[in-house]
């Protein structure tokens, strides 16, 4: 997972580059929470463009980050949902809680 912080907009972007399962979320979760606490952003966006696989661990990951970001006064959003990622999120109803956004900024 790569991350980038845009100081001007207080925007923190996480670009997930690995497959998301119970194994990989442990690392993603640790890094995300660390970066959120470090930058204290207003917006946190998870970019799923490079995610080739995700199971229900992805739902737990997002709900957990949603709560953590809220606690620190940040809003959580998601972007670039692939078809398979969207299928799982739709099923869970999580998109009623976490808005899908489009970003001008991107991590090269």
């Amino acid at each position: 997972m790569e991350s980038k912080f845009y100081e001007k907009d207080k925007l923190l972007v996480f670009k997930i580059t690995e497959e998301i399962d119970d194994h990989s979320v442990q690392k993603i979760r640790r890094k995300a929470d660390y970066e959120i606490e470090r930058f204290m952003p207003k917006r946190v966006v998870f970019d799923f463009n490079c995610v080739t696989f995700m199971d229900s661990a992805g739902i737990g990951l997002l709900v957990g980050r949603y709560k953590f970001a809220n606690l620190l006064g940040a809003k959580l959003e998601v972007t670039n949902l692939t078809q398979s990622v969207n299928k799982i999120f739709e099923m869970s109803g999580i998109l009623r809680l976490i808005p899908v956004t489009t970003l001008k900024e991107s991590i090269a």
């Binding site: 399962d21 194994h23 696989f53 739902i59 709900v63 398979s84 099923m91």
Partner: protein
């Protein structure tokens, strides 16, 4: 009469979360003989990932145990059996409820069985507390195309 399967594979590995990717990719590689679409293959991978994760974090609770996968091909159908000798499920109906989880502290969503049910055609769960759990799932590949063929065969009959 014994059921006839055209192909079969068996896989055994220890219950380490690093093996989740290995398990789903292996089953997907085996299933690819049926020439599934990318979406069908993704469905199988997701369902296998859910079942194997259950073995690792619920059945064995991160102790070391053996997870077994047996996959069979029959015509255009794949049947996957995933079993463990872990703690077992006390109430299967409750475990299948969407959002039900015994481990909310681990950020588990409780969507595992719901995903298996909706991504595969059928799922059967057998479990004995203290003995283990066996999940059997099946999925027909290219169902729509096969149905289409059947219809065209029927309509071409005299």
């Amino acid at each position: 009469m014994e059921e006839h399967f055209e192909n079969e594979m068996n896989l055994e590995f220890i219950s380490k979360s690093a093996n989740e990717a290995f398990a789903r990719i292996s089953v997907a590689a085996f299933a690819s003989q049926l020439d599934p679409t990318i979406e069908e293959l993704a469905d199988i991978k997701t369902a296998v990932s859910e079942a194997v994760t259950n073995c690792i974090i619920h059945a064995y609770e991160n102790e070391i145990g053996i997870v077994k996968i047996c996959a069979k091909l029959k015509k255009n159908e794949i049947i996957v059996q995933i079993s463990d000798n872990g703690k077992g499920i006390e109430d299967i109906e409750l475990a299948k409820e969407p959002l039900y989880t015994t481990k909310p502290n681990l950020e588990r969503s409780g969507m595992g069985f719901t995903i298996m049910e909706s991504f595969m055609d059928s799922i059967n769960i057998e479990s004995i507390v203290g003995v283990g759990t066996k999940v059997t799932m099946s999925k027909k590949i290219k169902k729509e195309e096969a149905d289409q063929q059947k219809i065209s065969q029927m309509t071409s009959m005299p």
